[in-house]
Symmetry: C2
Subunit: 282 residues, 2 copies
Amino acid sequence: MAEPVTVDDPGDPRLRDYTGLTDVELRRRREPAEGLFIAEGEKVIRRAGQAGYAMRSMLLSEKWIDAMRDVIDASTAPVYVVTPELAERVTGYHVHRGALASMGRRPLPAARELLGRCRRVAVMEAVNDHTNIGAIFRSAAALGMDAVLLSPDCADPLYRRSVKVSMGAVFSVPYARLDSWPHGLEEVREAGFRLLALTPDERAVPLTEALPGGPARVALMLGAEGAGLSARALAAADERVRIPMAHGVDSLNVGAAAAVAFYAVSGAASPRSPGAAGAGGP
Amino acid sequence: MAEPVTVDDPGDPRLRDYTGLTDVELRRRREPAEGLFIAEGEKVIRRAGQAGYAMRSMLLSEKWIDAMRDVIDASTAPVYVVTPELAERVTGYHVHRGALASMGRRPLPAARELLGRCRRVAVMEAVNDHTNIGAIFRSAAALGMDAVLLSPDCADPLYRRSVKVSMGAVFSVPYARLDSWPHGLEEVREAGFRLLALTPDERAVPLTEALPGGPARVALMLGAEGAGLSARALAAADERVRIPMAHGVDSLNVGAAAAVAFYAVSGAASPRSPGAAGAGGP
């Protein structure tokens, strides 16, 4: 453990991990390059730690020291105590959640490695909105998806906003990036997965009819809000599937569509199906 | 049709419907009291008109006149042409969608009247976030819910933000307010509906197991993000139901939970169920 140190110079180089947090473009470049991400608020900081991420440092105002005492004691990372005003000057916003932690990233697993131990994976193409990424991870965790695969142009699940919206689910659902797209999907198929591409296209098969029974492996492909999956991605799928829509409605938002599709493929939709809670019972 | 009139005084009383649009508290009081709501952007204005709402007036910048010409011609409402700067001074924000319309509200139907012609209704308690209300209506429309009932303290589906997030679904899904809560639920039960209360409580019955087969009427009750349904509302339900969650995850966000639940109760989850697309077939 480290004794908390009071810092009163906004230009102090020890605060560098926390500078300009509201500049999305800057942080999007800096954080992966410098191997860090920012966890915000007591709950998220704790979840990051529980998931095994190492803390680089913590920044907090004095009144939060007691609440975070056990986290501080359990780590050797330096802890910087600042006034709320100084925190705002450094980060660019009013840090109303009281504590920020800079956490070290870990190398992502290879897709191949993840796929070996999964049965249900979500594959996202070009989902570059941090809120949507976070919401999709939260639903993936709740609805029992085993892992998430990202196309190279998806947003960063560890960006501050994604982490917050996911309620920390980005720490608990393992994920990997496919290096090439859509060619990398071949690897998913070779690992024994059936590739289902979600689309609002009315000619696609209703999701439940496309689901193979039993323990078959399913990779559910989702595109971004608005654009949906690209033609190349659709062409690379084994089957195009849709959520049945009431007449006259174009589509669900991507978060709602993802939740419904995860629910359907995870087996919870059919109480007696082999994928449901009672799986493996007599 | 009315000839477009150029207005260059931000204090012109004819622009009164559009003043202070960013002041949520003000607009939340004014709009229902004055019998109006604001439709923003070409698509939403058209959908409001198609749904039968009468236009009181339109406010737009000159370059949008051609795009809106047919809407202008089809109405007798006055059309005010302003510069983007004037639009911003009046409304309080940069109107990048180009056109705003003030639309007349209509009396809401009585709950009893709606229930008579519905089979699947969503009942919302205290959902007072305009984004959530909009998202839930969008999913309700797409996933085939017949109507929405609101507790007295739910937010206004016709507030500008709700309308936008719903993509106009607030115009197509009929809704009513229950005058008393939770006592008004008795009326829903008397209309032949089984009241299912959605909760993350692990002791509740998995949603699919609670669904009555065939043409039975179901009212699905949803609470607000965070708080969920109140104890009084839960006590007034016929059954408590849950979406099966993977171990260790607290809950879905309310939009995702609503989408999954609508999907499950609308019958799309079971391809061969009487509620699905093939209903009534041989």
